[in-house]
Amino acid sequence: MSKVENLSEIIEKYGPHLYDAPIDGWHADRKIDRAVPTHCPYCGVQCGMNLLVSDEQVVGFEPRYDFPVNEGKLCPKGVTAYLQTHHPDRLLYPLVKKNGVFERATWDDALDLVVSRIKEIQAKYGKNAIGVYSGSSLTTEKTYVMGKFARIGLGTRYVDYNGRLCMVSAAAGNNKAFGVDRVANSWDDIPLAEVLMIAGSNCAETFPILNKYLWQQRDNGGRWIVIDPRATATARQGDIHLQLKPGTDVAVANGLLNVIIREGLIDEEFISKHTNDWDAVKAVIDKYPPSKAGELSGIDPAKIEKAAILYGQARTGMILHARGIEHHSNGVDNVLSYINIVLATGKIGEPGRGYGTITGQGNGQGGREHGQKADQLPGQRSMTNPEDRKYMCEFWGLPEDELPEAGVSVVEMYEKMREGEIKGLISTCNNGMVSLPDVNAIRQSLEGLEFYVNIDFFMSESSRFADVVLPTTTWAEDEGVTASAEARVVKINKAIDPVGESKPDWWIAKEIARRMGREKYFKFDTPREIFDELRAASKGGKADYYGITYEKIDAQNGVMWPCPTEESKGTPRMFEDKKFYHPDGKAKFFAIEYKGPAEVPDEEYPLALTTGRVVYQYLSGNQTRRIGFLVQQCPEPYVEIHPETAAKMGITDGENVKVISRRGEGIFPALVVKTIRKDTIFIPYHWGDAKAANLLTNAKLDPVSKIPEFKACAAKIEKIGSRELPILGASRRGSSLSEAQRGK
């Protein structure tokens, strides 16, 4: 069913095409009708910005100097974000695939088709034959609706979201150690920390605006310890760079803690009063002296000692980590091993002393709180806890036997599609054909579906497989809240009405549910009504939104949850009373043994391949690979190789090479740089089709968080002797544009 035919035709019609100007070109004489304060649609920093509206069209932005997080600052994605809304590639009306060709349909026809096919499949194979795959770039209102829609509207247990590819390891680790899943400090604490330990995060490229806080810390005399296999811009600006082998984070963290214990830099009072299971940890850590840690991770042990002493001796300090340690088959272990350091030194719950994951997606925090995660109900309630289930069923007025069981993670959902258990899929706000590991397997999953509905505002690599593509709105055309990486709930405001016939995701879900005969559970007409429902639903849960209102968000420039009452101003810093969210109020140590990545380099595949991001592209690139400026800065993926490794193979800079793993292969231009380890190569992953780094990555999952191992697998490189420079070509070099044109 779901095959992509006429690929070139689809690309010609729906892009990606490059577009690089406001709707009717660059000119400075527009009358600006209003500036709408809102936030950037991209990463978890959720920078404030004003969208300029002229004649009911978004025509530009103006820095929002008064928003305290970014004070007007924006990264290049944020600066060009407004170019999405009127992009010529926008999907403006529903599309139904007939004989392999997308044809325009009315909303009624498209939705009736969707509903009749869902009913047909569910009648034939059971309710669980339909899966729902949602995303974390949606507003929290929409994520709440998507979870409810899957479980009540469709009655399927299979719902999950793309945060599964993002920070679930951190979420799981936080829940295990602290009993709650939230960054422990607001970013205002960063400048107060004497030492920052940044593990697995190139925040210079992935969270550029966070660097405002980092440099404030540095201006205050602070130091950075950066743990990363690449000498990234962040590592370059840091003080100590621990350039580890991909996937050896546990060894490094255990080695650091070993030195900290040896030097007597632990906080014994904190450990005995506020934590459990320290002795078990101590026993394991004894096995990881710096020499051992250095041997496992490929770092000079002296550097590990220096870093440990720097962090241990500092009066204040924070540990921040991101996907680099989380995207592993032992991602939760990695997270817990760093939390062990935090707890052992007692650096938590005070100004400048803290810990946090830097959540990736715009609403990565909010998107995992209100019930679109396979195992969770709104307010971070558990799908498996009978009390939580009962509470939600009562709240929704749903007979308890109608609430399905907990589902499975998205990678497992795609496995179930290949196995034939899931026959139909509704996906919104994601692009698995780029972002899921082992793309060849993902393609098989989609091709095996009987029916696939994709909701998006651009035709993504995944939408091409769909039977029905429903056009949704960009962030500028609807309102709602998101929770940033510091758990600050902020409000996205509506700048203009939806473009074309596009509709917000919550409207689409509601309409399908209505046609499925579940109207009584979806009685809302505005995001505000959804928000009021969800904050009531979250009441008493861990992620308690009850006291948050749109008005309070506006008045306070965001509210950090938990905010249980209307009087509460929110909670910028967690654990100030040293009370954790486990029943006994104590935090928990976990003794972590080093296991290493699931696939390590061997004779056949001698290099460690790690993947990551560039500052110019966002996630699967469906939004950013269409913006001229961003594409010009980074037109296509490349493979970073150390010059010594390259020299051994006779590879020169700019030469195309074939990168092969056990799962697939791809051709990428070589970027020969000293900023990467000799035994490691790196490919940014934002591209699809033949340029997808995820053709190579390993789909091995973390046993707890079910996050795939994007950050380490074994690979080899083959020289193919082709040298084509990206887009512009060698002929252009040196000659000016007018001369080049004259030459033609």
């Binding site: 000119h27 400075a28 004489d29 009358k31 950066v226 000498a231 590592a235 370059r236 600006q237 840091g238 003080d239 100590i240 760079h241 350039q243 490929g298 770092i299 000079d300 002296a302 550097k303 220096k306 720097l310 380890r677 070099r733 040196g734 000659s735 000016s736 001369e739």
Partner: protein, 362 residues
């Protein structure tokens, strides 16, 4: 914005002579062209004097301008290149092409913005039309005589030209040429002023004297000119002499404004033909190669001229390695400055190698 003129040693003697000579030559041409003032209309005496003075002033200003070392080098080299015997034909051809695209078609203004091009089209051709009609009339180079009932005969420098029927379309256009030009100029100026009131970039940069006064003067001339027509056609010459005097005052003011403000580009712009010729020839010749990245980025002749010019202006950009800073392409200049920054003496710690504690990375 003119507040800080770059200091330069200027010699005013030669420009003064050139200005005076220009005025004298024009005076002579007026006398000869009007057959010893026989065809000269004494009512236009004021205009004539103003034109002669303005002409001298423009010549003076042009001569001062040519004293700029940069201008002089381009001017000299441009002439030298143009009159290269082997390439004269080719040069003439390319100059004609440049004139067509740059001065007539003005494609570069179109590239700046379509609206700007329309605006400039109306103002420029309106002014050229008006000038083409008025100056020959004022100088007595053209005059009309009545032949028979409705026959008008035009004379150029006293030589009789065609005879036309006063009721014909061609005669109507001829006699209303100034009215047409006035309407064109007004349309153009309206567009320009509209832009200047709405474009935030223009609003930020514009100055009243430089950017509004020329438009206001042109509009005032056009309006008063049209009023003259209206007065004589429909109001039996009501207030004719007052309007005429105002018109004359406005025109004289504008003529005196020519050498100074924005309008000087009228005489300056044709130099772009020479610049284009220079650039094209230079692109065909040997190219200068950036000593650092080895890319050829400009013509060698141009680079040598530029280095000579920079030297002449009193700068000393010579480097220890024997090159001059200008030898490097713009990108390498930026990177070299960055490298100098990275190598700043006695800096506390290595700035760009990451690990500040413990030296370069593993």
């Amino acid at each position: 914005m003119e507040a800080r003129q770059t200091p330069q040693k200027l010699n005013y003697k030669n420009p003064t002579i050139i200005g005076l000579v220009s005025s004298i030559v024009l005076t002579a041409l007026v006398i000869i062209g009007s057959r010893n003032l026989e065809n000269f209309d004494s009512a236009l005496f004021g205009y004539t004097i103003a034109s002669i003075v303005a002409f001298g002033a423009i010549a003076f200003r042009y001569a001062v301008w040519l004293q700029r070392p940069a201008t002089r080098i381009y001017f000299k080299r441009g002439l030298q290149l143009f009159f290269n015997r082997k390439k004269l034909g080719k040069n003439a051809k390319s100059a004609v092409g440049s004139i067509a695209t740059n001065l007539v078609e003005q494609r570069f203004i179109f590239k700046r913005a379509r609206q700007r091009w329309i605006m400039h089209f109306f103002i420029m051709w309106g002014c050229i039309l008006a000038a083409a009609i008025t100056f020959p009339l004022v100088f007595g180079w053209v005059h009309f005589t009545l032949e028979g009932d409705m026959g008008y005969r035009a004379h150029l420098f006293g030589f009789p030209l065609i005879l036309m029927n006063g009721r014909s379309l061609i005669a109507w256009i001829t006699f209303h040429g100034l009215d047409i030009s006035a309407v064109m100029v007004m349309i153009g100026c309206a567009i320009a002023i509209q832009r200047r009131l709405n474009d935030r970039g223009a609003i930020a940069l514009q100055q009243f004297l430089l950017d509004f006064v020329p438009h206001l003067l042109l509009i005032a001339i056009s309006v008063s000119g049209l009023m003259l027509t209206a007065s004589s056609l429909w109001f039996q010459g009501y207030m004719y002499s007052f309007i005429s005097l105002s018109h004359q005052a406005l025109v004289v003011m504008t003529l005196f404004f020519l050498p100074f403000g924005k309008l000087f580009h009228i005489v300056q712009r044709p130099a772009s033909v020479g610049v284009e010729l220079y650039q094209n020839r230079s692109a065909e010749m040997e190219q200068a190669v950036c000593p650092r990245c080895r890319s050829s980025f400009v013509g060698k002749m141009w680079m040598d001229d530029l280095k000579k010019l920079v030297d002449e202006l009193g700068y000393d950009y010579r480097l220890k390695n024997g090159h001059t800073l200008q030898d490097y392409c713009p990108r390498c200049k930026r990177v070299m400055r960055g490298l100098a920054y990275a190598k700043a003496p006695d800096k506390a710690e290595p700035v760009f190698f990451g690990a500040r504690v413990g030296g370069p990375n593993v």
